[in-house]
Symmetry: C3
């Protein structure tokens, strides 16, 4: 099977959630090579960094400051253009080396789901080279 799915529920407009354990448990023992963790959404993202609680709060602040509310055309339809812009900049996926089922992350690296227009229920795909 080339793909597995995960889901995550979010509570706030901008929220960073550590999904490392869920991803690690979903990788088959025989998988080796680059594995892609992919969010199926346009106002969310996948990122990798340290899951230290104060730092995760700093990330939420930094993402809100980087792209401010403005006179966006899309806001005539749906008042979340700022969320789409943040998602465009972070991107929907990270690709991570896996060796015989084990994620080859560095000591301080965690896989982060980045909610940018919550609260919502979100879907994540893992894609393995066959």
């Amino acid at each position: 099977m080339a793909t597995k799915s995960l889901s995550v529920d979010t509570d706030r407009k901008t929220q960073i959630i550590d999904i490392t354990t869920a991803v690690a448990e979903a990788i088959p023992a025989e998988a080796s090579g680059p594995v892609t963790v992919f969010s199926k959404h346009t106002t969310a993202a996948i990122a990798i960094n340290e899951a230290e609680s104060r730092l995760m709060d700093d990330f939420e602040t930094a993402l809100e400051d980087l792209v401010r509310s403005s006179d966006w055309g899309h806001d005539e339809i749906d008042d979340n253009a700022d969320s789409h812009v943040r998602s465009l900049l972070l991107g929907p996926s990270e690709t991570i080396p896996v060796d015989k089922g084990d994620l080859q992350l560095g000591t301080w690296q965690s896989i982060l789901f980045v909610e940018l227009d919550g609260p919502r229920s979100r879907s994540i795909l893992l894609s393995f080279p066959e």
Copy 2:
């Protein structure tokens, strides 16, 4: 064959073009696993988001606002350092789960070619796990 190429012609300095259909048609029916869509340029990018027309205009505005013209050293050679900085931030590729030839995109996700120093003729590679 591990690679296929696509081309796109752009009209403006900053321009977002939806290439989802062209990518989908180029993926062989037997491909499964993570597929990489890769721009071969240093003043362009590949991104994924919603291809709603007002939002695509908002993205163009947001990218121009995020990195302003400045007293860049590279501008002594070629007056486009701002385009290179935007390209560095967005990155040249996206990697997308594929299952038996089908892109596993979410409902609102489109694959976007991001021109940052047009108008130009641009080359895109698709890379498949063999």
Copy 3:
């Protein structure tokens, strides 16, 4: 073997280093498909752009300007939240098409290691589809 490692030593807080030759030499002749170049760190990144010396200086300036020092919560623990935010935005990896051992980069593209909290010794993994 699905993975190879490289190392790089950096000299400054923010520093861009061209690692294209080291990556190219580490790719086995039989490798084909998307290859991931992955930094194992939370205050560094991998990017792709032109390795022109004045432009690389511009990138260092742009990254420092994009995320300013601020009253970050993480700075109570370790005074480098700004470096983590820059790393979050750039991301730890790039995935590049390879055809029979050859990187399929465009004419002006180089693979860049982006130090954001140096000087440090850094580890990079290359991950190949098997």
